[in-house]
Symmetry: C2
Subunit: 369 residues, 2 copies
């Protein structure tokens, strides 16, 4: 919707301008300026994101939120962020008045996603939130509602939706290169150590399903282009060494899609598991052998011309180094902000995975999320 | 139990000799002679078996059962089997009087396993029966009962229980090289063509689960050394091209073992699927990349000395050509016959898989087997 200046003024007088404005501040209208991000939480993944934004021509880091002022000041000095744009968790709501901050990147433990997304929205900032979106379906719904009420955009950081190897896999499937998708296998998991926040359900919301299994779950959805019809699942805990007092250790599940395509997936915190997906279609298969930040590689072998047609064999490594995926992700959200578009992975995408993970737990006899 | 000649005569007078005799005919007592096998059904797998027996120093082919006399006579000429030892399906019960036949190898479509196992048992022959053991749990039970009643041995042809690469995988797991087994992934499937007997439920008993999925099911049992506690499963049929009018196309399932180890498995007749298993333990992983007749290969990577210990990396191809697996399998059954031992994979092993497959179908909402 485009409004004339006069129409807009009228809406302003009616108190409705905010509802048609594409973004929180009218500065976002200037498609040539850089969008400023405030990073909330300066942990490991925040470093990847910051590196990604540094490689972007449309985004920049303009604010930091941390519980450690010293640490934040070091980041600020390196990134050229003024000290006045460093906030604590307590006073971050003040960023409402900071015009250099258009959006926040929520890189906190899962249980804090909802609170900081909602507070950021109330401060008038667009929100890019890490996955899993939250630790409960109701929190995810509240996050969407808060961003809608504040008229800010909400994107969940599903970086692989913007990553060329995954986009190539999706393209091959949509083109019918593999024929009809029959079965997808996927795994993602790692050995987690005692003391890590992921093993504390109050912070993580659950076991490996939320942190890494979500990659397999989400991949089966974008690969098929379908929404799951049903799930079956098993969960277990084998090690009683203090690590799994509050979250489960292993989960295996099956997904059935409306087309009949099935997925067979597993995740764990008890073993270093290979991360990959492999799609079997009636005419051949493809595999992407990592959900990582770099080193992705698509391999495929199919005869889409029918029986007897020589096989097409693909082996396409993605040589883009980390943090290029984060640049692509930030660029997308920035574009959405500047051009008033809905992100490819909005809050609703995160909510769906929360609902599906709830169903997977339920299928395994566990009440969660 | 050893009996003196006098004690044995007494039992014979009481009609009980058959119950203490280790085998159907007293000739089997001679540990130096070759055990004679009659092959029932001269299809693809029978050729592998015959090749395997030809490579054995303790077994030989001494009879044939076929519906095609011409075909059987060609086989007989090649194998040195007298024409008098060729039977039709109708008259095969006459082999009771053929002393050169100690055992049969049942290589028929699944639905015929029960009838020909039971008839062979009644003819006083030991039975080596292909897997799946039958097309119903009750048939499997009847087969075991018939062999017991006739005092003949029954072995199900789980050839991988006798195959070095699989034995090596089991050994590594039992030694604790991988630590505690957390999750096993396994797949096995292929694109099946219209008109094949496997797609006719009356002959096959069901879809890919019975023919190839059974490898994954059985492997997760011998790898963990445990019996499944529960299953979850999904089945689907995507292609409505006449192939799947009576059997399902795809199955994915999860298995939970008492230790907490989980398995994530899939099978299909709708796609050429890689056949493999991969075991993830707390200290590393191993993979065997085929359930085939040859070309098996064990790969592994583990640090069983604990964290920081250099990883042990294994890459051990099995270079034994087909039909060596069949030689090993025949040798085992022959040894059991000659030495009056219970096979490693007796009827009860086949029955268990039938019961588990029934549970997998039930978990998917299908009444079968």
């Amino acid at each position: 919707m485009r409004l004339s200046r006069r129409e807009f003024s009228k809406l302003g007088a009616m108190g409705l301008a905010a509802q048609v404005l594409p973004s929180a501040s009218s500065e976002a209208q200037d498609a040539n300026r850089k969008v400023g991000y405030c990073v909330i939480g300066l942990g490991r993944i925040a470093n990847h994101f910051i590196g990604g934004v540094q490689g972007s021509s449309t985004s920049q880091i303009t604010g930091l939120v941390s519980g450690h002022r010293d640490k934040a000041e070091k980041f600020a000095a390196r990134l050229g962020v003024p000290k006045s744009s460093i906030y604590s968790y307590e006073d971050m709501d003040r960023m409402r008045d900071n015009k250099s901050i258009d959006a926040v990147y929520v890189a906190l433990p899962n249980s804090m996603h909802a609170e900081y997304t909602i507070r950021s929205a109330k401060a008038g900032k667009h929100v890019l939130c890490e996955k899993p979106m939250s630790t409960s379906v109701s929190d995810a719904e509240a996050m969407i509602a808060a961003c809608k009420a504040a008229n800010v955009k909400l994107m969940i950081a599903y970086r692989l939706h913007y990553e060329p190897t995954n986009l190539r896999a999706i393209e091959l499937i949509r083109q019918g290169a593999l024929g009809k998708v029959q079965v997808i296998e996927s795994a993602n998991g790692f050995y987690e150590n005692l003391g890590e926040w992921r093993l504390n359900k109050a912070m993580s919301g659950g076991g490996p399903m939320l942190d890494v299994g979500i990659y397999s779950l989400n991949a089966t959805r974008y690969l098929t282009g379908e929404e799951p019809e049903s799930f079956t699942a098993s969960v277990s805990t084998i090690d009683h060494d203090g690590r799994f007092d509050t979250v489960e250790e292993n989960t295996t599940w099956t997904t059935k899609f409306p087309s009949g395509a099935l997925a067979s997936c597993c995740t764990t915190y008890g073993a270093n598991m290979r991360s990959y997906y492999r799609v079997y279609g009636s005419k051949g298969w493809l595999e992407v052998g990592s959900f990582g930040y770099e080193g992705l590689r698509l391999q495929a072998n199919y005869s889409s011309g029918g029986r007897g047609t020589p096989a097409t064999v693909l082996d396409e490594p993605n040589t883009e180094p980390d943090p290029k995926q984060f640049t692509r992700q930030a660029d997308h959200f920035t574009e959405c902000i500047l051009q008033n578009k809905t992100p490819k992975t909005p809050g609703e995408e995160g909510l769906r995975d929360m609902q599906y993970m709830q169903q997977i737990y339920k299928a395994a006899g566990v009440v969660a999320l």
